[in-house]
Symmetry: C2
Subunit: 398 residues, 2 copies
């Protein structure tokens, strides 16, 4: 994944990382992102009823609409930790705020890792203060490393484009490889941009971009307590402020969507134990919502995912998963393709399973289901399910 | 599973099995069950929109309310096989009807195995005729063997009880080890009884018993195109006919439920690759429906199932799965137990994860979630998820 090493960096952001041995020693597990000026802030969070302490804190703070810093740790999710967890999240933000002399209400907190164990704050706070004091000691790629848990590679993406004659840059890091399902994932994503943009426009762009990216991937159908995507827009690019409904807004929104889609694809590619990416495209649906229902059922089916792993063009499992949704379609008009090989025509085999199996040896497999009922389509990104997934998750805490 | 070898057999049923090399040679893969007199018949079938040909046929034929025989094959599900599939299912029933000189409308057909490939009928029909001609050549246990696919042991259960002073017997065979989810499974279940019972009473008892048994187990969350449970009640026990609302009905219904629950537990125990049974009991819910929503989400969570496999009392994954349902509960009042060890009290760890891990080494693990919101409860049976499940399903067709 050497291509992830090259990225554009927006103006006015400083990064620091530290090793606090949150879970165990030997790696950087604290990251601080700091904007040298106050930034417009927006965020989206897990829809899980059970929200980790930092998510509760951030969801409240994001309402103010501005932010200066993000402090994140890996190794411990600070979830299901009660009042102590809330106090701990606040203390993390205070350690950054006090050191950088900024309001703690403008510091966002993110944690990822094991659920239900209190943070080892005695170890963490001195390291957070030290890192904040040395702000600028690291790169954004270092931050991407520091937030990894079961990820096997750091996830970073960026875009540079013109707005009102000025160079505007978006750079983002993310983590997430399991517990990944539509409606976010065990994922953290921090997006930094020097764009000048209104709060409304930033909110709208972030919602759209996450819906098209993180909400359309699935690894194991599980939804995390800690999903967080936060964007800070500090305006240092000096462009004319971007408002909703303008051409500039379209440019920004598309660039942001592109960055988040890149990160989403990296997450799926890095799906725990995954050997290949599975793109499930449902077309010919009567609505995008209907297409998504089928795509989600197929992309989450263990039997489909294991067949893809085994290079078996087992379209029977695909059609069974579609049927199990209860959503309306006619099994006798469906066409199914693995890659470009049509394995089912009007609900019946074309006897090309062996040819399709060759397509399944690729590192990216597109599975297309044409319902022939309408013109709507939707795509979900998933991955295969392997013995390695089981190993990783049976041994995660031990 | 030697205890499955002993069973009571109801009066008036004859069994035959044959080897037709449906998928490959070397084992019996055809079973015929025949009642020497016409029997009251009832059935429940998959709710998957995509129904295999024999399911479509049986669902139509069961409306008549009587039956004489069942013919089943393993190795091929005769699903997604279009008009040819329907004609093939009818031909299977005709081969039995012609040989035994009974109406083909009273012959039910069941198929299980690979989806999307037409049945090798040229090989099968002579063997079906031969088996029907030799009816009585096999035991019900032989039939249990003949319908196995990925099952690692045959599934048979029975009950004998008194109705109006007469001995009444129920015996049933089932198959199913994967694609198992509430709303039935890739499962076939044939229930034979010599009870005299009305059609209404048989329907009501079967619905109740399947709801309490097969609809409360899950292996992988997938729902099959072929799920079928058929009961034939031939009345040869000579008891006074059982009507709904009577005490005798309660006795029959409970006995039937017990038999099907035994089979359901065998299926979960034999879940593809499973090393242990996971019973998820949600109590303190406001309604049984609400309890089932949580129980299903937890019992289907890959992260919970892999944690159970890894003997990790990872209650964080349990509470995250509950939260992801979107159904209302208060995470701060929840108690969670693995076996008898309370790992969470009012949403917080009791620091007994290590002690709970010992409970997880048992072959049956009960996970109890007390929501403390009401008095309703529901239990689902599931199993752990292992590397072996992946291996089985990545290689199923190859």
């Amino acid at each position: 994944m050497d291509e992830t090493r090259k990225y554009h960096m927006p103006e006015g952001f400083l990064i620091s990382t530290a090793e606090a041995a949150v879970k165990r020693p030997g790696r950087k597990d604290i990251a601080i992102i700091y904007s040298t000026v106050s930034a417009v802030a927006s965020g989206v969070f897990t829809r899980n009823l059970v929200r980790a302490a930092p998510v509760v804190l951030d969801a409240e703070r994001i309402k103010h609409g501005t932010g200066r810093a993000i402090v994140a740790n890996s190794g411990n999710a600070n979830a299901c930790t009660g009042k102590r967890g809330m106090a701990d999240a606040e203390k993390m933000s205070l350690a950054v705020a006090d050191t950088l002399i900024i309001p703690d209400s403008e510091v966002f907190v993110a944690s990822t890792g094991v659920i239900g164990t209190p943070l080892p704050l005695a170890r963490m706070l001195p390291k957070i203060r030290e890192a904040a004091g040395n702000i600028g000691n690291s790169t954004l790629l270092d931050a991407a490393h520091a937030i990894m848990t079961t990820d096997s590679f750091p996830k970073i993406a960026s875009a540079r484009f013109k707005v009102s004659g000025k160079d505007v840059t978006i750079a983002a890091v993310a983590k997430g490889a399991g517990m990944i399902c539509p409606n976010m994932a065990t994922m953290l994503c921090f997006i930094l941009t020097d764009a000048s943009i209104t709060k409304d426009a930033l909110d709208e762009a972030l919602l759209y971009a996450t819906e098209q990216s993180f909400n359309r991937i699935t690894v194991d159908g599980d939804m995390s307590t800690n999903d967080t995507a936060i964007v800070l827009a500090n305006g240092l690019a000096g462009n004319k402020a971007v408002h909703t409904g303008t051409k500039a807004f379209g440019v920004f929104k598309n660039a942001l969507t592109g960055v988040l889609m890149s990160l989403a694809e990296m997450m799926v590619r890095d799906g725990e134990g995954a050997t290949k990416v599975l793109k499930v495209l449902v077309k010919g649906a009567q609505s995008e919502e209907a297409a998504l229902i089928f795509a989600r059922a197929i992309a989450n089916s263990l039997l489909v995912k294991t067949a893809v792993y085994g290079c078996d063009a087992n379209w029977g499992r695909v059609i069974a998963a579609a049927g199990a949704t209860g959503a309306a379609f006619d099994p006798d008009t469906v066409d199914i393709y693995f890659g470009k090989v049509k394995v089912v025509k009007n609900g019946l085999t074309t006897k090309k399973d062996a040819k399709a199996a060759i397509e399944l040896k690729n590192s990216t497999v597109t599975l297309t289901i044409d319902l022939k009922m309408g013109k709507a389509a939707a795509q979900l990104m998933s991955c295969d399910l392997t013995e390695e997934y089981i190993k990783i998750n049976a041994e995660y805490r031990t």
